[in-house]
């Protein structure tokens, strides 16, 4: 029961500080789940993140698997509610208020000011994932090839991500 409360608290907080979206909140999630509460090792955290990459919809639905690992089905349900509900409530009310401030020039100050912070957080999230997943030249090559292909043309990322997974498997079993 205590664990469910901790899960609810941690993921509700993460939901509210996710300025810049899922990637932006990834370092804080790792900090809480792996280092603060020691709920799982960083490798397991990375593997769960990867599961989210191959599921449809928002990748951050993978938080449910974190809840499941820790407290079964109830954990998954609690984490899903905690991670999505607070943010939905904020979005709902801010959206209704936002139109009232359409003339306010502070509105664009908020947008412009938070934009670089959000980018800095996304970079941090990318870096956190790189630290967890790139430990040799093969990993680096997979990341570089994915980056290169996506910068060059439009390809469904799922194809590249599956190819990345298979390439690393081939590298491991050779």
């Amino acid at each position: 029961m205590n664990k469910l409360w901790s899960l609810a608290w941690v993921f509700a907080l993460l939901s509210l500080v996710a300025v810049g979206g899922g990637t932006a909140v990834l370092p804080e999630m790792e900090r809480q789940v792996v280092h603060q509460f020691h709920w799982m090792g960083d490798k397991q955290f990375r593997d769960i993140y990867s599961l989210g990459q191959v599921a449809p919809g928002p990748n951050m639905l993978m938080v449910m698997v974190i809840g499941y690992r820790l407290a079964g089905a109830a954990g998954a349900a609690v984490v899903a509610m905690a991670f999505f509900l607070p943010d939905c409530i904020v979005a709902f009310f801010v959206n209704r208020l936002w139109d009232r401030f359409s003339e306010s020039r502070w509105r664009s100050a908020v947008q412009r000011g938070l934009a670089p912070v959000a980018i800095g957080l996304m970079l941090s999230g990318t870096y956190a994932l790189a630290r967890l997943s790139i430990s040799n030249l093969m990993g680096l090559a997979i990341a570089a090839v994915t980056f290169g292909i996506l910068s060059w043309r439009r390809v469904n990322p799922l194809l590249l991500i599956s190819a990345g997974g298979l390439a690393y498997l081939a590298f491991r079993v050779r």
Binding site: A18, P27, S50, N95, W106, G113, A115, M122, L129, A143
Partner: protein, 217 residues
């Protein structure tokens, strides 16, 4: 910027022909089910703007601007905003439920299977490769999303400070947001940069019209 624009021409018309909750749920469910590898927002735009014409493109991009400033996932925020504009609270709830349900079923199935096989070295190798590939994907998305910020010195400083604080020093995100956030907003306070005020966030529209917008998260 007229984000308050009604979706249908008049409030009366909207009241006379409300969008069915089932239609909202089904539309967001489809977007949530086929958006493998991210790009949920691009699918939403396809359905909401072009197929059902529930919103015009301007209205959609206004909602996207707000979604990007709000905390939380863009696609979820978009669902709340669009659902609310169509049918109020229950519309928003239907949209979010539809968006998340397919992914929830798939991720839980994967999660249960993974839990029983999580020490399997082959599975772990695949997941490491997936994560490494995701690093490439996230790099592309971040550079593309921030292409305007990366060319401005002030923004680069905020990006750098945020990255060092969170990525390197691992300072609590709450503390970083409560210090750097207000600082950055203050830097862009009204009247501080009057000449640029007309260009706010136009890049967002440009970006969305480019083909790369497909796989944004």
């Amino acid at each position: 910027m007229d984000s308050a624009k009604p979706l249908l021409s008049t409030p009366n018309e909207r009241a006379a022909h409300p969008v069915q909750l089932r239609a909202i749920f089904k539309t967001f469910f489809t977007a949530g089910a086929i958006s493998f590898g991210g790009g949920v927002v691009a699918y939403l735009r396809e359905y909401v703007v072009y197929e059902h014409k529930w919103l015009d493109d301007e209205g959609f991009l206004d909602a996207l601007e707000l979604s990007e400033t709000l905390p939380g996932l863009n696609s979820v925020n978009m669902s709340v905003i669009i659902g609310d504009r169509l049918r109020g609270v229950i519309g928003a709830a239907s949209a979010v439920a539809g968006l998340l349900l397919p992914g929830m079923v798939v991720i839980m199935t994967l999660g249960v299977l993974w839990s029983s096989q999580r020490h399997n070295p082959y599975l772990r190798a695949v997941l490491v490769g997936v994560a490494a590939s995701a690093v490439g994907l996230l790099t592309t998305v971040t550079l593309q999303l921030g292409h305007r910020q990366f060319t401005r010195l002030a923004d680069l400083l905020f990006i750098g400070a945020t990255f060092v604080a969170v990525g390197i020093l691992k300072i609590s995100l709450v503390i970083v947001l409560l210090t750097l956030g207000p600082l950055a907003i203050w830097y862009y306070r009204p009247a501080a940069h009057p000449s640029e005020s007309a260009h706010h966030f136009r890049h967002l529209r440009e970006r969305f019209h480019s083909h790369r917008a497909h796989w944004r998260h």
